[in-house]
Symmetry: D2
Subunit: 383 residues, 4 copies
Amino acid sequence: MVKVVILGQGYVASIFAVGLERIKNGELGYYGIPLANELPIKVEDVEIVGSYDVDKSKIGKPLYEVVKRYDDGEIPESLKNIIVRKGIHLRSLRNLPIEAEGLEDEMSLSEAVERLVEEWKSLGAEVFINVCTTEAFEPFGSKEEIVKAIEENNKERLTATQVYVYAAAKYAKEVGGAAFVNAIPTLIANDPAFIELAKESNLVLFGDDGATGATPLTADVLTHLAQRNRYVKDVAQFNIGGNNDFLALTDKERNKSKEFTKSSIVKDLLGYDAPHYIKPTGFLEPLGDRKFIAMHIEYVSFNGAIDELIINGRINDSPALAGLLVDLARLGKIAIEKKEFGPVYEVNAFYMKNPGPNDKPNIPRIIAYEKMRMWAGLEPKWF
Amino acid sequence: MVKVVILGQGYVASIFAVGLERIKNGELGYYGIPLANELPIKVEDVEIVGSYDVDKSKIGKPLYEVVKRYDDGEIPESLKNIIVRKGIHLRSLRNLPIEAEGLEDEMSLSEAVERLVEEWKSLGAEVFINVCTTEAFEPFGSKEEIVKAIEENNKERLTATQVYVYAAAKYAKEVGGAAFVNAIPTLIANDPAFIELAKESNLVLFGDDGATGATPLTADVLTHLAQRNRYVKDVAQFNIGGNNDFLALTDKERNKSKEFTKSSIVKDLLGYDAPHYIKPTGFLEPLGDRKFIAMHIEYVSFNGAIDELIINGRINDSPALAGLLVDLARLGKIAIEKKEFGPVYEVNAFYMKNPGPNDKPNIPRIIAYEKMRMWAGLEPKWF
Amino acid sequence: MVKVVILGQGYVASIFAVGLERIKNGELGYYGIPLANELPIKVEDVEIVGSYDVDKSKIGKPLYEVVKRYDDGEIPESLKNIIVRKGIHLRSLRNLPIEAEGLEDEMSLSEAVERLVEEWKSLGAEVFINVCTTEAFEPFGSKEEIVKAIEENNKERLTATQVYVYAAAKYAKEVGGAAFVNAIPTLIANDPAFIELAKESNLVLFGDDGATGATPLTADVLTHLAQRNRYVKDVAQFNIGGNNDFLALTDKERNKSKEFTKSSIVKDLLGYDAPHYIKPTGFLEPLGDRKFIAMHIEYVSFNGAIDELIINGRINDSPALAGLLVDLARLGKIAIEKKEFGPVYEVNAFYMKNPGPNDKPNIPRIIAYEKMRMWAGLEPKWF
Amino acid sequence: MVKVVILGQGYVASIFAVGLERIKNGELGYYGIPLANELPIKVEDVEIVGSYDVDKSKIGKPLYEVVKRYDDGEIPESLKNIIVRKGIHLRSLRNLPIEAEGLEDEMSLSEAVERLVEEWKSLGAEVFINVCTTEAFEPFGSKEEIVKAIEENNKERLTATQVYVYAAAKYAKEVGGAAFVNAIPTLIANDPAFIELAKESNLVLFGDDGATGATPLTADVLTHLAQRNRYVKDVAQFNIGGNNDFLALTDKERNKSKEFTKSSIVKDLLGYDAPHYIKPTGFLEPLGDRKFIAMHIEYVSFNGAIDELIINGRINDSPALAGLLVDLARLGKIAIEKKEFGPVYEVNAFYMKNPGPNDKPNIPRIIAYEKMRMWAGLEPKWF
């Protein structure tokens, strides 16, 4: 059994919840879950024990009702039992058409942290899955600075994610171990301050930014070219979608968080910084969660020949990430059992766009996959 | 030094020749050559010592003149010294607008084989690179059948490639070792009869069908999906070009040779035989050597979501293969030195569409690359 | 009111039937029907009075049940009242996995024609919509030959469509007027023999081959280029689908019918026969009715610059044609009223891939649209 | 003979100059020039008599040298005779890596206008072609405001283009007629103040923003859908390039000018404002003048079916516009002769993204083409 607490009950978390219950009910196969039923912990063993959000219209509602907003099918009854709790918002819903409400509106951040830790104890939380809206953030220089910002109730300095990690660390220290899966771009598993905090608090860190969408595919295509020693002249990658995450990214500051993560793959995989334009490009409401991607890559082959690749796709954003989360919840529990606290590179290199810790590079996903399997105690598939 | 004999002085062989000389002259970098200058044998050490063709308008001409038909740039003077010799055609130029002429027109196949072996001895040949036109062929059941077909001068049963391999085996046995690189779809490294012949004759076999174009890319994209446990509903892959190879493939029988090779990747990589349509599609003269490819892949993600990928490209056919041949020539020599006769799977799995021997599957190219490096005595790059 | 008889109750006819009823029930808008509610005859006035097929599993069944095979939604009850009747098959279902049964199995073609004419009289038929499977066929040289083939019961010479048109002509002559909409590639509105027959029999001819899918779009894109005097170097157009029509086109003979129609646009619109490869390419079952198209166009712009366009799409085959048929049924009635018998070029030029009569060219669809409006008594939209 | 003065000797103007001379020398055909040799004024009759720029490194140089920067081929000697003159820059090169220098640096704007008018008289200018860098601008409310801004030397209020038009109007009034072709997005033929000024000054206005690239193609594709009454759910259109124009568009203000023009086609052609994202997207230097475009259109067909189109392209930006300019120069002279001063909608509707005057809509290009031909005294091609 893995007891999961959701932080941010939006599209991804809702698909995660509904998909999990459908699998338990035998209505759905394991598609989209990389390790399917290969792990000792079964997909059916993952249980959502708590859910947090800051959208006024969700707080206090059963998951069953929230999930309905994101999935047209029949919603499993079992989701009626979980009630969405009030979380931390800070600046996270700024400029979205959502009325936000957070614990910090009624108490200090320190008190909010205490409150969360107490709630989590009562829930028996093991793995925290952070799928808040993409934030504009600033990394911390040292653990002390984090502590200070919390104590001084510095709401301008901190983001929701940063406060959640702080609370999760406090919780992990008290209960002997927990895992934090940071599926958004805020640097956590790549921020030395949070790494230090996590290590000394028995907190496993998976992060940062779940590796879904166009970027991991670009990574594998660039590896394909690198292995044939083709010289990449330029890479353009656009994507546009209609979910709240794309709406949030129309904010310049948030967009930067994303751009940073996405661009690092080019140099890491090619060995040189080929000119590139890789950014979330825009918001177009009718596309919904099924984003449109367009990629253009130009490269030099033997004898100076110029080749060109164009990749387009329609990709469901939230299910792609939700499927990875089913693995990450289980791998989080395995890491706790292995007592591998702090960032686990073997896991992050496959599942995360910006794999922590910060001093580790992107490697080809196809190879990262094999290493991750071995870390998890499975046979490599092809190596 | 690696002494190379070309069999089939068409587009690929001409780009190979001109590119090599340009590199030696310092006019061109190593782009498109996977192992670049990492091997102990340098790119500059590869030397073409002989060239064979069956196009009447090429036989007896210096390489310098033949190569001009395929490359607009300035042709290196050094190619003036090699004269194209008369090879074997059998049915290989049937239905192409080319007047063919072969040794078998003037003598029996046995005599032709003798003649070739003698010529190769005088040239000091080490590696044979077979880049004939795609053939319609039938594999052999046993080594004895091959011998019999040659002895009986059975021109209907044999293809040019099959005769060349037979001759190369005879030659290798006499001189103590040689390598045959089969870059076309005719089953050689996958035909148990030829494998047996090669092993007992000290002949290294690299083959079959050089892994360029859309298929290896499809392989890596399918691996990308398989690793995320996405269920592939269907794969369509078209390609159309304007070079002689595409013209040859308008012949139904030849096309089948190609289709077979291309399709095997689906089951090998996904683990199930997803419905697919993967075939060379047509000939369109103005596209020239820069073919157009179009691929469509539909798959199921988590929670039953349906995603779609479309990949298009303009890819120079001949340079892509020519770049691989620069490695294969050198790896051929290395294999001879290692005395690894018969098909070398570690090399074939990366460089060949249909990696021999026949009982070995396709594996993801990105992983095959690392294994090939290790076979060649290099560090893996990421593993 | 327009009384319609369907010939070939497959995918297109089923979507036509179900869509019409949904519109009448107020469940669906006019999308996909070019003239929507602009004509004096309303969409709601179109009524299916008869339906013919030769699939044993459909004959005798209510439309309600047949239509269910092609549409997942709720099927309008009103379709329970029409029973599918036995038609003519001749060679039309050859090499499809369907058990066929036709009137000609029990009687001579002349008798079958008589029988059909009698049935149509009892139904009060006005417009015949022919959406049989694509046929391999041979045009007729003269009206007399058609008559002779029927009289001699020459089943090898005739296709189902040709017999249906003959019967429709006979019927039209007797009742004073009818319209035949030939939405498949068999040459009817382009066959001088059938044109003569139609003219003297008061039969309106709309045809040949409904202009849906990639070809009309290609036509407009080529026009776009022609108007800017860009020189088209080459055009490749692939399409692959999973419905019965694509399965039928895997038959070489049928495919030729289609290829002919599609290719004529190039010369008609550009004024020169740019090298092109425009063919239905393959069958891939899971794509269903939503085919995948890929198009590549290369052209020369000012100062010798080379540009390139690639167009991909997923297009629902049957609804596209079904929407046009709603117009054609109404325009058929208008033509009868106008007594414009034989092929009506103004209508065909917009709605048909191969607009009859045979001596008329393709013109840009965007212009044909305006001319068709004027023919129908509507204001041009932009001209 | 048409005497042309270039305003802004960048990529487009250079390709225009070199292409024209090559045609005169018989080295190049008429490809990319819509009306080719159909007009009474021949392509060979167009003569560049003056050229203005504000890039310090171009001023005073012969066209021959400037043009070399943009074209790899052999440059016609005839371009040695034209020397690039100093123009007006105002804010036009802000944030580009170019050192700018303009007449307004040494004198007041009124004096600069006088100077230009005098120079143009000596050159015998007839048609002005404005191909300055895209500007951030504010339209004028009345002719009086323009006059006032010039007189008060208000450099903040005016852009280079606005000053050039003012000078051209003054010139036209004095010499009895001239034409101004505004090929950039600054509103001129759509600004009532400039329209008034032009009409009373005998100045023909062609504008605004030359209709090249993805937008006119989108227009024709949207028309294609509108004519079939397909309901467009959403349109996304990206484009990225590596020329100075794309670099300039990374400036937010300039980008807005462009976005406005591009977006208006959606409502004008569909009749409703389908959600869209149509913007120049980014700068990627190695793409050079051959931009990459990606378009995604989703629409509803009959019976509620959802179709999807994806269009990609590599398009040479400058030659596309340069080819149109060859027509516009000749049509400008024809308009002068016809005394049609102010904006000429018949011409603008085909050649301009935002066809002036402002109260006129976009119409399908394919139809605009026919109307333009008729205005120019030619037969329509298909209508």
